[in-house]
């Protein structure tokens, strides 16, 4: 378009606005007439007119005018806090009674990882594990107290806490029981349940070490209790090493306040470590010389080995990966022989940064290197991609990630040989999908 024309049109608009008061009277007078004229000519019959213009063969989605193109959309006053399109309503967290302690107050809602793109989980889809329901805390009545083996105990309002210099980091949070129901056998015909006890977001908050600088941590302080203010008053013991390395108190999740499901107004963030350690609805940090032995670090979140001894204080979630496309929810049943298709997935490691991912088409007998794509960050979801020419025959598709700490995902057999099948937590054996000859995808385990 010619620029001069645009400018002159703008002028017209301006002068129109100046004349508005005068013109309003005119509009009023003619309103009745123009409304009926409009109604007759266009509002009632746009679809018909268009349909008459474009007969013929083809996709009605192209040939016919659609209601959204021929009427107003919602005014900007609608949904001032935006919501996803109603057509995306099946993209949602899901629950099952078998993953709850008696009722839905101590349970988990899992993330639809097959529907996510990139490495960020939208806040409404972030998985939610809680032990006494999702607390709805009044921001104004919430406090953070830091005490115990510090020279100067401290209490902060949320506004005061947010005055500290902030940092933003992208990290996954994974429940260490992700994949845990499948130690003995595959159980879920679904990626959402088999691997969806995790999500990844950009978190904003403060380093705990920055707050501690002024409080004078006593030399005998070795452990920190973090405690939530919700129904469960859940506590967990964190070693001082992590507190002084990269532990954060976060209030921001993907640019907005934490969702109540994520511990609004604040939660603990320990990059890469068990989700359960990242106490939500955080209210209290206490420093001590001995560990605290809370229920969720003894009764639960401990991994029993065949020796009868259980691993306690099992901190980092080890290197792991899963193919998200195809998967049971997103099969290849629409593919034709010869189609070139992307195998895509997620890799992550609580111990560091993903170095690479291998793909196997024969259940882990032979491997080829996949590409990483997008951002590759420490303790964050990392996307991988592998281009495959579909041959219409059955496959066992597996992925195997490795990290910069030198760890490589073990096979199911290696993992079972090492730690048995009763660990419940920290299962990171190679995940395999069986793709049948007609493109259906099934959850299997390769025991070779």
């Amino acid at each position: 378009m010619n620029k001069a024309v645009t400018v002159s049109q703008e002028d017209e608009v301006l002068s129109e606005i100046q004349e508005q008061s005068g013109r309003r009277k005119f509009f009023k007078k003619t309103a009745a007439y123009s409304m009926s004229a409009l109604a007759a000519s266009s509002v009632l019959m746009p679809v018909k007119i268009k349909a008459e213009k474009h007969h013929g063969q083809g996709d009605p989605a192209i040939l016919e005018e659609q209601v959204w193109g021929t009427t107003f959309g919602y005014p900007v006053t609608h949904n001032l806090y935006g919501l996803p399109s109603p057509y995306e309503s099946n993209v949602t967290r899901r629950t099952t009674e078998l993953l709850s302690s008696g009722n839905m107050y101590a349970s988990i809602a899992v993330s639809p990882i097959h529907e996510l793109s990139g490495i960020i989980t939208p806040n409404g889809l972030f998985f939610n594990r809680c032990h006494g329901g999702t607390a709805e805390i009044d921001y104004n009545k919430h406090r953070l107290m830091i005490h115990g083996l510090v020279e100067k105990p401290l209490v902060l309002t949320m506004d005061e806490l947010k005055r500290y210099p902030s940092v933003s980091r992208i990290h996954f949070i994974e429940c260490p029981a992700n994949g845990g129901p499948e130690w003995r056998n595959p159980q879920f015909p679904s990626i959402q349940f088999a691997k969806g006890f995790m999500s990844c977001a950009e978190w904003t908050g403060v380093y705990i070490k920055d707050i501690l600088k002024d409080l004078g941590l006593k030399p005998e302080a070795k452990w920190m209790l973090a405690e939530g203010m919700d129904n469960s008053h859940m506590g967990r013991t964190v070693p001082i090493d992590k507190v002084l390395d990269d532990a954060m108190i976060v209030w921001g999740q993907n640019g907005e306040a934490l969702r109540p499901e994520q511990g609004y107004p604040i939660r603990l963030l320990l990059p890469g470590w068990e989700g359960n350690l990242m106490v939500k609805w955080l209210g209290r940090l206490e420093f001590a010389s001995e560990p605290f032995y809370a229920k969720e670090e003894t009764a639960k979140y401990t991994a029993l080995k065949p020796s009868g001894k259980a691993i306690q204080h099992f901190y980092a979630n080890e290197v792991n990966s899963v193919i998200t496309s195809p998967c049971p929810e997103k099969p290849w049943s629409d593919l034709k022989k010869g189609d070139v298709v992307e195998i895509e997935g997620l890799a992550w490691s609580g111990m560091g940064t993903i170095k690479g991912v291998d793909i196997s088409l024969d259940g882990g007998k032979n491997w080829k290197e996949a590409s990483l794509k997008g951002l590759v960050l420490p303790q964050a979801w990392t996307r991988f991609s592998f281009i495959y020419k579909y041959e219409g025959k059955a496959l066992f598709l597996s992925s195997r990630a490795r990290d910069d700490a030198g760890y490589v995902q073990p096979s199911v057999k290696q993992e079972r040989d090492a730690v048995g099948v009763e660990g419940v937590y920290h299962r990171n054996g190679i995940h395999t999908w069986e793709v049948t000859a007609n493109g259906e995808v099934k959850n299997v385990q390769i025991l070779s």
Binding site: P181, Q187, N231, A294, G352, V419
Partner: protein, 379 residues
């Protein structure tokens, strides 16, 4: 043969050495040790600040110098009010007492509706005992390799290393619908009862009905599985033990091998889901892009509904616990034969498995409003 083999070996060692030294010298952005020279405690990596960045993130180093200070010192009463944890050495454990028999009564009133008689658990609710704890502890080496193998018993008595955890958890987490509502003496009584149903002895003594537990006796409890956990985190070497433990991949099943070709013999051995597996999900799985149907005739919400959902629905959603289920017309008609006042009285003061006010501290009026809602929703 020997010679060339020798050469090969030397070559690979040299290469390996070169490889590591090159990585160490060049890459200051990632490290196995913290600034203080200690290995990273979880066996992984840390990302020191190097040239104004940590990993890929730029940072304002001046912002982290400790000059920013906000907040105030809490009062001693404030600390006392919030310092609710109980540690194995008795830190945080108040004085008080309660007998097994008293515990039994409180248990019946406030716990049995979920944890069932004698803490046997069920319907998803955890069991608080599975018989003699000392015997149960011996099952911890069990592995369910075959479908009918017995699993390890992981309940309080057989598994938990410390009794302090139970005291702390019961007082601050239970009863589930109304935590922080038990007195110290009630908690002692419930702990005594839980110990007795697990047949745990204190100082060689069994806990019969008359046994009165107090702080002094509590601190003598030695749990059967006290030594069942690794790494050892107690005492002055706790942190170093954890560090050493995670430095050795063998301890937790870490793998460093990356096989690329012919990684196993023959065809893969495949384990498949048995039957339909666990496939009852809410909502059911669908990847269709469809607009949900509008909810039919949405009326204004009853004022009692929210509190009902929060405090009563756990027991009243179904009749599994003997409670009249909301929506069950007959059950409520039967209950109302006593008259509305009596029904409300029972809701406020409790009856059989119905704890007073459902175990909450709601006002009488609020409970009455909830009962109105329950009746309304069951017509």
């Amino acid at each position: 043969m020997f010679k060339s083999y020798h050469k090969l070996l030397v070559a690979t060692t040299l290469f390996a050495m070169l490889g590591t030294s090159v990585v160490c010298a060049a890459d200051k952005t990632v490290s196995r040790t913290y600034e203080n020279g200690k290995k990273v405690i979880d066996g992984g990596m840390t990302y020191p600040v190097y040239k104004g960045k940590t990993a890929s993130y730029y940072m304002n180093e001046k912002a982290h110098g400790g000059a920013v200070n906000f907040g105030r010192k809490p009062t001693l009463d404030e600390i006392k009010a919030w310092d609710i944890d109980v540690m194995p050495d008795g830190t945080g454990l108040p004085e008080g007492e309660g007998s097994v028999e008293e515990g039994d009564e409180i248990y019946e009133a406030k716990c049995a509706s979920c944890h069932f008689d004698f803490g046997s658990g069920g319907s998803g609710y955890p069991a608080l005992q599975q018989g003699n704890a000392y015997e149960g502890q011996k099952t911890l080496t069990n592995q369910r390799i075959n479908p009918d193998d017995d699993g390890p018993q992981r309940n309080f008595g057989s598994y938990w290393p410390q009794a302090s955890t139970l005291w702390w958890y019961i007082q601050t987490g239970m009863p589930h619908p109304a935590p922080m509502s038990l007195s110290d003496d009630e908690t002692y009584a419930l702990v005594a009862y839980t110990l007795s149903i697990n047949e745990i002895q204190i100082d060689g003594e069994e806990l019969d009905d008359e046994y009165v537990l107090n702080r002094e006796k509590f601190l003598k409890i030695v749990m059967p599985n006290k030594d069942g956990f690794e790494p050892k985190i107690d005492g002055p070497n706790g942190l170093e033990n954890a560090r050493k433990y995670y430095d050795n991949p063998k301890n937790f099943g870490g793998n460093k091998e990356r096989c690329m070709k012919n990684c196993f013999d023959g065809d893969p051995v495949v384990a498949r889901i048995q039957g339909v597996g666990i496939s009852e999900y809410s909502p059911p799985i669908s990847i269709k892009r469809e607009k949900p149907m509008p909810k039919e005739g949405s009326k204004a919400e009853h004022p009692g509904k929210k509190a009902y959902t929060a405090s009563c629905a756990v027991c009243h959603t179904t009749d599994a616990m003997g409670a009249p289920a909301v929506g069950d017309k007959q059950a409520w008609e039967a209950a109302l034969k006593k008259g509305l006042d009596k029904v409300k009285h029972n809701a406020i003061y409790g009856i059989n498995g119905m704890p007073p006010k459902g175990g909450t501290t709601l006002s009488d009026d609020k409970v009455s409003e909830i009962v109105d809602y329950m009746i309304e929703a069951s017509k």
